[in-house]
Amino acid sequence: MRRSVSTAVLLVALGLEIAGLVAGTGNFAASAQQKPETAEVKIDNFSFGPETLTVPVGSTVTWTNRDDVPHTVVSTEGVFKSKVLYTDERFSFTFSKAGSYPYFCSIHPKMTGKVVAQ
């Protein structure tokens, strides 16, 4: 009887350990996905590329103007706004909150893009 109780306790402990390991692995995988990174958006030929960019929260996105004409990067919701970006100039913004951030070029409003922070 005593022996079976000990075995049961051991099995429960083992189960808990395995569950903990799995949960830990899951957390590790989740934290690896959420690791902030840097991402690039190229402005060229009157368009943002990629048009929609998905990044982990905390990531910094850098826009580089590779076009011959000046552009701006302006958040539709007023979250960020660059100065005029002439050829080869850059603008960076760090997305510290999750959400969808549509933006456009205020000189050429038909140029639009979106950053999704998740």
Binding site: N45, P70, V84, I107, T112
Partner: protein
């Protein structure tokens, strides 16, 4: 987000879209006026001279909202940032073009108020130069807006 150019909100909120639309009026009216003036000069037609005068009047008048919306775009869309390069060149040439259109109009207006005075011949090369500068400014604007550029 797609932008509909015929949506009234887009027209108002884009802030500089009016400039892009209105700019075509003084350019077209001025070029037409100069063409009428040249034809009127060669054919000695009073009708063509009058057509040139009224086209110039409308061209000069239409530069006012064009300059106003251009400056408003600079202040609103670009928050009055210090300009350089192609934007600065477009601003300076735009102001020069407007001034030239007004100068040509005033030359014609002066003669119209004093019919005994003939139109000065120097106006013809002056008008040709003005058309070139207006055309170049418009080309820069088209390049900036993506109409004449690679886009």
């Amino acid at each position: 987000m797609s932008v509909n150019p015929f949506d009234i909100r887009t027209v108002i909120l884009a802030k500089h879209a009016q400039h892009v639309v209105l700019i075509h009026f003084p350019i077209a009216l001025f070029i037409a006026a100069v063409a009428f003036d040249y034809l009127g000069h060669w054919t000695r037609s009073r009708t063509l001279a009058a057509a040139a005068h009224f086209n110039l009047l409308l061209a000069a008048a239409s530069t006012v909202p064009v300059v106003a919306t251009g400056l408003a775009a600079w202040q609103w869309a670009l928050e009055g940032q210090k300009l350089k390069g192609i934007l600065l060149m477009h601003l300076v040439l735009g102001c020069i073009s407007s001034a030239l259109i007004w100068l040509v109009f005033l030359i014609h207006l002066r003669v119209r108020r004093h019919p005994e005075v003939p139109l000065p011949k120097y106006r013809l090369p002056f008008e040709a130069l003005a058309v070139l500068i207006v055309g170049f400014t418009g080309h820069l604007g088209g390049f900036l807006s993506g109409v004449n550029g690679p886009g």
